[in-house]
Amino acid sequence: MATSDPTVKTTQAVDETGSGTDRILQTRNLRKQFGGLTATDDVDFAVEAGELRCLIGPNGAGKSTFLNLITGVLEPTAGSIYYNGSDITDLESHKRVDRGISIKFQVPSLYQEFTVRQNVRIPLQRVASSSEYESRTREILQRCNLEGEIDTVASSLSHGQQQRLEIGMAMVLEPDLMLLDEPVAGLSVEESADIAELLTSINETDGVAFIVIEHDIDFVESIADRVTVLHQGGIFTEGTIEDVRADPDVKRIYLGEEH
């Protein structure tokens, strides 16, 4: 059990819900089981407003499951999720989005048959009037460096462009917390750098908090404020990237020498 592991350093909560602090997200004893498999094991996890947190961990550590619990794609077996101090555990996905949580899935999931403009319209029409569409679309595309592709069909964008577009689309709703699942998987070094720049800019200019799942440690290093290591469904350790890098236990679990 992760919680009984002496190496675990959980975030000390001010109170159960994290209200009255800068804490934007707080989970309490969050647990998800698939049949006999425990994918998320009594996790207490917190993110401060405006923080850029990375979530790492070996394959099967339960990272994606954890993200899906926060977005509401999955229902937890037990435990609670608090967002800005209020309980959102039983809230439907789309209502969580309205509260200010955005997600970008692991697999690129643009509307492949739509043009870039149409893609942007899907989130945009929820927050803007039709007279603003054009200017807002251009603004967003400018931010993710896609102005030239406004009428390109999504399926013919490059992989990096697709990732940037998705982040841009998530930004349209002006979230306070963005969840990204492996935003640079399969990208070239240059493309990764573009994404890192985009994320940092969003984080710094707009004050959006992030939870980013990523395997690429160099990428994590280039963006993360703090890093949380998940292992076997629980929080293994938490800290700055330097702390985590220096932790021999983390190396051990990545190499699979558990015992």
């Binding site: 977005t71 794609v73 439907e92 996905s93 789309h94 209502k95 989005v97 309205d98 955005s102 997600i103 899935f105 999931s109 643009l110 509307y111 492949q112 048959e113 739509f114 043009t115 149409q118 319209r121 899907i122 989130p123 029409q125 929820r126 689309m169 709703l173």
Partner: protein
């Protein structure tokens, strides 16, 4: 020149709400074709006589039914075999109301109640399915089974205990509905019989067509199409996709209900065969052949196939129709409409290439 261009501006204004990337056919050529087609249907009774319009009226009624499917299948990804259920329920309801209230009031109420019942029925079925997590092919099969339940049930309502007020449900033999399509109050009103009924059907179809085009190009339409493309993703933009599906399905049920009322007033008769597997399949076929993402394609396919069936009177009729279905599905997976559009685009491109290489002045494009 200025008059011409202001007409052009006006025409563009008029077109605007009905256009967008979600519909096929947004060019001048398309709209001219649209107006010509409507005109052709409008003068059909004048050309061939009022009686000749009676069967085309039925073709258009079933085209409207197929349009209700195109709306939910082509634009929201819900393949329903149950459109005939809403169609039939509305038809029976209209009969029950008008047999009990055989006045203009009854006829008016009949239309309203029939469409309301069909809509409510669709909403209940939709709620039951979508909020219960039923998806994809299971939606298709569940809606089909709903139609079959109605079929089985209605077939055994021959007994006199199956009477609602004055209206006898009639079992397998069905229900005769003497009331014409009419609106009014008490003993005063307007009845639409014969060729007038044809024009009501045509008008309803054209209006529905335009409205639905406007809807699918509206915010809600984008949300529907986004749901069709990727439900999970759309949910993550804050859309309540479950509700979007329910709303689209309910609107589809309402349209099917309207077509049911037009059907029962056409033939003055309805029976349980409207709920049968074959009947349930026909809208799917019209939409598949015409193009499930194209209302115009669906309508034209519905009319063409029904016309063909009526003309083929020999024993080879089913063989020909069946083979055509297979052939079209194999050669044109998205139906005929996208093919036609691509062809038009290709021809347009070829012509503009030719023009560019030839002597055509480029200035013309500016005024367009």
């Amino acid at each position: 020149m200025s008059v011409k261009s202001s007409i052009g501006v006006l025409a563009n204004r008029l077109r605007e709400p009905f256009e967008g990337p979600n519909t096929i056919g947004n060019t001048n050529g398309f709209w001219i074709g649209f107006l010509l087609t409507v005109l052709l249907f409008a003068i059909y009774p004048i050309l061939f006589g009022p009686y000749a319009a009676l069967n085309p009226a039925q073709f258009l009624v079933f085209a409207l039914l197929a349009v209700s499917l195109t709306f939910i299948w082509g634009f929201c990804g819900i393949l329903s075999f149950g459109q005939v259920a809403f169609f039939g329920v509305a038809g029976y309801t209209f009969g029950i109301v008008t047999i009990n209230i055989p006045t203009y009031t009854g006829a008016t109420l009949g239309i309203i109640i029939a469409v309301a019942v069909a809509t409510a029925f669709a909403a209940v079925i939709g709620y039951f399915m979508f909020y219960g997590g039923v998806r994809d092919v299971y939606v298709t099969i569940l809606t089909l089974v709903v139609a079959l339940v109605l079929h089985t049930f209605m077939e055994q309502t021959a007994g006199s205990q199956w009477t609602i007020g004055e209206a006898h449900l009639g079992g397998y033999n069905g229900m005769n509905v003497p009331q014409d399509l009419a609106v009014g109050f008490g003993e005063t009103g307007v009845a639409f019989d014969g060729v007038a009924h044809y024009y009501v059907v045509l008008f309803t179809l054209v209006v529905t067509y335009l409205l639905l085009r406007a809807v699918v190009n509206s915010r809600f339409g984008y949300a529907m199409v986004a749901t069709r493309e990727d439900e999970a993703r759309t949910e993550m933009f804050g859309y309540n996709t479950t509700f979007i599906k329910l709303a689209a399905f309910t609107v589809g049920g309402a349209i099917a209900g309207i077509s049911g009322v037009l059907f029962v007033t056409w033939g003055a008769y309805i029976n349980p065969s409207q709920f049968e597997l074959v009947a349930a399949t026909m809208p799917v076929i019209y939409a598949s052949i015409g193009g499930r993402k194209s209302f115009a394609g669906t309508i034209l396919a519905a009319v063409a196939i029904q016309y063909l069936e009526l003309q083929l009177t020999g024993e080879w009729a089913f063989v020909i129709v069946g083979s055509l279905l297979v052939l079209i599905i194999l050669t044109m997976p998205d139906g005929i409409a996208p093919r036609v559009r691509n062809l038009v685009l290709a021809v347009g491109e070829w012509r503009s290439n030719r023009d560019r290489s030839g002597q055509s002045p480029p200035a013309e494009e500016v005024s367009d």
